[in-house]
């Protein structure tokens, strides 16, 4: 039986979700005035009107700024500056860095029209990583629910296109694994709709009645309008219209609008158009964002080699840039080239030694490479930087445990358990179960897995391991049920398929076993035991 391996928890990289620095085109205030005010010992000056709103906006007190703007607009609905500032406030409150927004819906995954090579050579596609790459071994390094090897940080990621659309639709949907139907559907919509109901006046800008051509051509407000439509309203079609008009009025010489057009095309799934816009933008001016977006488009087109090339070009213009280096590292990691990926992350750390993503990914790779002591040092570094979360303590505990520093191991795990939040509770209890198995306390391990399952009934690893423990107790039917529900929750899982195949084989259900082994081999093509079982079963079929 194949036990699911230890799962390092993915550290939540808070820096990923921080909004970009805003590009405010009109500056009303001399910044030194601010410090002058503070230095003066006189009475505190109260700002009023637009100035107050703008200061609040500069201090990132977006909702307060918005309230002030709303009041001003009630008095004078035609105040364009206030109107633009309110749009800016609203779009900033729902801002998502488009570079990191990689959610792909089922429709994008399976109804893909941009596939260039349907059967790519190994190593040139995310769907077919090199089989010789060391990373593609789910026994050594567990995979995420999306079928990608576990990485060091939580990050939105593409999934394997496993099986058919039919199969994907049939798979039981859960809160954690379910994919939206398409990227323009409800899941992305919610970013825009979240605060819409709150506005007493109804929708702030009625897009249907807005003279788009007029405002889009106005360089004083068109950026705010675009961002409002793109990020807050999430109406990509209108956003595209604004960007197109603005680009035309700037006589196709503004790289900003080309990038925005590319973002729209990317959201709409028109990858070739997005690539064209970005290339044109790059000819005009080389920007980090443009390189990163172009590489992202190429990744979406499943052309990792081209993406790597784009990143390399970006590095030529922007020497040792963190975004480019991180991009290369992520692509290499997804291709299973961990050595190259870790080298890149180490380069990132040379430039920016407090990059949590890089530290966490290097640590995770070291851990699964059998060097827990070194991984421990990296995780401790994150701890020193002031990040303290249950995930981190759990990882430190697991590293200590694997490095046989037992005194710290269990205390760190206890600390993780006492500080954990609900979203990681299942993983933490699962890892406690793993530690209990290693200690030899099988009874406690089974309990820990059961607790993990109450926190997350879809935790397939816990189901598999609990199934193995049941099987060991001779409760074959129960273990069968557990394995099959683990497969139902996560069909890409290697251990569930393989273990159930073993049980089927022992019970003489050869047909079922053969199918399951086929699935297990899809998840882990190099598993020697599976291959041998498959070969052994072949004659049974051929002789019938």
């Amino acid at each position: 039986m194949s036990l699911s391996p230890l799962r390092m928890l993915q550290v939540c990289n808070s820096s990923l979700w921080q909004p970009e620095l805003l590009d405010v085109s009109f500056v009303f205030l001399d910044p030194s005035f601010d410090s002058f005010l503070k230095m003066a010992d006189g009475p505190v000056i109260e700002f009023t009107g637009f100035m107050k709103a703008f200061r609040l906006f500069r201090e990132n007190r977006l909702s307060e700024a918005e309230v002030v703007c709303t009041n001003l607009l009630r008095k004078n609905p035609l105040d364009q500056a206030t109107w633009a500032l309110k749009m800016q406030c609203l779009s900033d409150s729902t801002f998502v860095d488009e570079l990191d927004n990689e959610d792909m819906g089922l429709a994008e995954t399976f109804l893909e029209q941009n596939v260039i090579a349907t059967s790519a050579r190994p190593g040139t596609s995310f769907q077919r990583p090199k089989t010789t790459a060391k990373g593609m071994n789910p026994i050594m390094r567990p995979s995420t629910n999306a079928g990608r090897p576990l990485s060091g940080v939580v990050r939105p990621q593409t999934s394997f296109k496993a099986g058919s659309m039919d199969q994907a639709v049939r798979t039981a949907r859960t809160a954690k694994t379910a994919r939206a139907v398409s990227s323009t559907s409800a899941r992305n919509m919610r970013l825009g709709t979240a605060s819409m109901a709150a506005g007493a006046d109804g929708e702030f800008v009625n897009l249907a009645r807005l003279n788009i051509d007029k405002y889009a051509a106005d360089p004083q407000v068109n950026r705010q309008l675009f961002e409002y439509v793109f990020y807050y309203v999430n109406d990509i079609r209108v956003a595209h219209q604004i960007a197109g008009t603005a680009s035309k009025s700037a006589s196709f010489e503004d790289y900003y609008w080309k990038n925005q057009l590319a973002k729209c095309y990317l959201r709409l799934g028109m990858l070739n158009d997005a690539e064209k816009q970005l290339n044109s933008s790059l000819n005009q001016r080389k920007l980090i964002e443009s390189f990163a977006l172009l590489a992202k488009v190429q990744n979406r087109m499943d052309q990792p080699v081209a993406a790597l090339k784009t990143y390399a070009q970006g590095l030529e213009s922007f020497n040792e840039d963190v975004t480019m280096l991180t991009g290369i590292a992520r692509v290499q990691e997804a291709l299973g080239e961990y050595d190259l990926s870790v080298d890149m992350y180490k380069r990132v750390l040379d430039v920016q030694s407090n990059n949590i993503e890089a530290i966490a990914c290097v640590a995770t790779t070291h851990f699964y490479d059998g060097k827990p002591e070194i991984a421990l040092r990296y995780y401790r570094r994150i701890l020193q930087m002031g990040v303290s979360s249950a995930e981190l303590f759990m990882n430190i505990g697991l590293c200590c445990f694997a490095a046989q520093q037992f005194d710290f191991a269990v205390s760190s795990i206890l600390r993780a358990q006492s500080t954990m939040t609900e979203d990681v509770a299942a993983d933490i209890w699962y890892n406690i179960g793993q530690v209990m198995i290693d200690v030899g306390e099988l009874e406690y391990a089974a309990r820990a897995y059961s607790i993990a399952l109450t926190h997350d009934p879809d935790h397939s690893e816990s189901l598999v391991n609990l199934g193995i423990l049941k099987h060991r107790d001779g409760k074959i039917d129960e273990s069968r049920a557990m394995f099959s529900s683990a497969i139902a929750k996560n069909p890409l899982m290697f251990e569930g398929n393989y273990n159930l195949a073993l049980v089927c084989l022992a019970q003489g259900r050869y047909h079922e076993a053969k199918n399951l082994i086929g699935k297990a081999l899809e998840a882990f093509p190099d598993h020697e035991h599976c291959k041998r079982m498959y070969e052994n079963m072949k004659p049974l079929y051929e002789s019938v």
Binding site: V181, A186, A194, Q405, S411, M436, R447, P457
Partner: protein
């Protein structure tokens, strides 16, 4: 195309079998040497026969038996030696306390070892029993009494035999030896040492049960030298020339090896072996011996261990091998069905046989000076000659392991982290252990506590009560706003369960169920049941999700039997 010939790799010629010879004797009772002056070397065997019958001395020449003589006593060891240049060579047969010398298979001389004084009580008792004053039982009692004072081995050989025999044999012994009880010690082994190269005559060396070693002039049978050892010698090997310088290696019954020289006065063993020595030979300047734990040891004359060979099976005996033309030397180790040749560093050759072996003897046979005589357990003999073109250039290490064993383990280098950690463990070992045990206890307590809470609140997916072991699994299908919920129940209780309900609970503002309560009339043991209900997300635009609980409840129980908590996925918009 030249065909690769496997023959040169073989060092011995194909064996020539001598099947009708019926040789059943130990390896000590075999000698190679001429029987008549200047004749070919013959194979001489002394048969111990069976219960005093069929005692023979046989001589083989070529592939047939040539001569035969009858022996009077069962032989212990035979030896070929020369005591006069001009006349025929002799065969010495050690039997009981005597050495019988044969010339041309005719009895020539009998040398008996001098008697030692007999214990007076023992002697008197024997005299008495011969005269019929006491019967055999009284003799037994007297002898037993004597053994309380002196060691059993200090009695005369007759008394020792008497005490170990049954009544009939005891009577026979009394009749044969009664009045003329002597104390001639049995000869345990004999060997020879060259007197000098110039004379080419041999000095005979004999060892007795009474721990004596005598050097005898082979013509006059006068004692030239004498040693008294603390224990009984069983194997002696001579080296050198008696007139110039010599060594005598003596292996005693208690697995000690002594190195004796002319001027040795203080007897101290050079090799003390923990396990029993089964065979000892000399090879050039080495002593080679085997022990019963299947180890062959090469050691210097002074007793320094040079090398050891660990064998996988029992070694029956060792035989020295020396090929003069090429100055090749080796030791032949005899196993159950094969022989192996070793030198002090390498395994040189292996020869396999079809039948189990008894002994081998290497030396000159006929006119071939490097012949191996192999005797099988069934009494047949094979004769092989060392090939003239053979050599020991192809050699392998002792106990050659398969190639996979030679793969080096990749042991990682000791990192600084590792060393630091080890230092810490050395210093604070006890504290680490205590901390670990304490935390482990706490962790187990935490698990037990959490599990207990689960059991009490029955929010587990697996029922924890032993009375109603039911398992629940829930799958959600569909993108929304309509989802399909399939609930699978599996009961593993012994009896069928009746009168239960499946109740679905959720935030009524978010979800609406088609059938919020499903009656379950029966749950048969071991059979999976699947129930389905549709649920609708009321307002997908709110994109709120909440938990849905499926409870299995029984009318007569206050708490649910099992609960499944499902975190619902985000719902899509309706298509219209």
């Amino acid at each position: 195309m030249s065909k690769p010939d496997p023959a040169p790799t073989r060092k011995w010629t194909n064996p020539v079998m001598m099947t009708a010879c019926e040789i059943h004797c130990p390896s000590t009772c075999v000698a190679l040497g001429p029987v008549l002056t200047n004749s070919d070397s013959k194979l001489i065997c002394a048969h111990g026969g069976n219960r005093g019958m069929n005692l023979r001395l046989t001589v083989f020449s070529g592939l047939s038996q040539e001569m035969e003589a009858t022996l009077a006593d069962p032989p212990t060891q035979i030896m070929h030696f020369v005591n006069e240049k001009s006349t025929m060579p002799n065969i010495a047969v050690a039997a009981g306390p005597s050495v019988l010398v044969y010339k041309n298979l005719k009895p020539f001389y009998k040398f008996t070892v001098a008697t030692s004084p007999i214990n007076p009580t023992e002697e008197e008792a024997w005299k008495a029993v011969a005269l019929g004053k006491i019967n055999h039982n009284t003799l037994m009692k007297v002898l037993q009494k004597v053994t309380e004072d002196v060691a059993f081995s200090k009695l005369t050989p007759i008394s020792q035999t008497y005490m170990l025999s049954d009544k009939e044999d005891q009577l026979a012994l009394i009749e044969k030896w009664g009045g003329k009880i002597t104390n001639c010690p049995t000869i345990t082994c004999i060997t020879k040492i060259l007197k000098s190269k110039a004379e080419g005559l041999d000095i005979m060396v004999i060892a007795t049960e009474h721990c004596d070693i005598f050097f005898l002039d082979s013509q006059a049978f006068t004692t030239l030298h004498h040693f008294k050892l603390p224990s009984v010698p069983v194997v002696i090997r001579g080296y050198g020339e008696f007139d110039v310088d010599w060594r005598l290696f003596v292996q005693t019954r208690d697995s000690l090896i002594y190195n004796l020289k002319r001027d040795t006065t203080e007897l101290r063993p050079t090799i003390i072996c923990q396990s029993m020595i089964t065979s000892l030979i000399l090879l050039n300047k080495f002593l080679v011996y085997t022990t019963n734990d299947n180890i062959i040891t090469f050691s210097s004359f002074r007793g320094k261990k040079i090398n050891t060979v660990k064998c996988t099976e029992k070694i029956k005996m060792l035989e020295p091998f020396f090929y003069e033309h090429k100055q090749l030397s080796a030791v032949i180790a005899v196993f159950e069905k094969k022989i192996r040749m070793y030198n002090e560093t390498h395994l040189l050759d292996t020869v396999e046989y079809q039948k189990p072996l008894n002994w081998v003897r290497y030396g000159m046979y006929g006119r071939e000076d490097s012949t191996l005589v192999v005797c099988f357990k069934d009494g047949t003999i094979a004769i092989q000659i060392f090939r003239r073109n053979a050599d020991f250039r192809s050699r392998t290490n002792y106990n050659e392991a398969p190639a996979s064993h030679a793969l080096k383990l990749q042991i990682p280098k000791k990192t600084k982290v590792f060393i630091d950690n080890t230092e810490r463990e050395k210093k604070l070992g006890v504290k680490i252990h205590q901390a670990y045990q304490k935390h482990l206890f706490n962790l187990r307590f935490k698990i037990a506590e959490s599990y207990q809470t689960l059991t009490a609140s029955a929010i587990t997916t697996v029922s924890t009560t032993s009375v109603l072991p039911v398992e629940i699994a829930v799958d959600i299908n569909g993108f929304g706003p309509r989802h399909r919920m399939s609930i699978r129940l599996l009961s593993s209780s012994k009896q069928n369960l009746y009168d239960m309900h499946l109740s679905m609970i959720s935030d009524i503002d978010v979800y609406e169920f088609d059938t919020p309560l499903i009656p379950i009339s029966i749950l048969a043991s071991g059979k999976p049941y699947t129930f389905t209900t549709l649920l609708r997300c009321k307002d997908p635009e709110k994109s709120a999700t909440s938990e849905v609980r499926a409870l299995l409840v029984h009318t007569k129980r206050a708490t649910p039997i099992v609960t499944a908590v499902i975190k619902m996925p985000f719902s899509e918009f309706a298509l219209e």
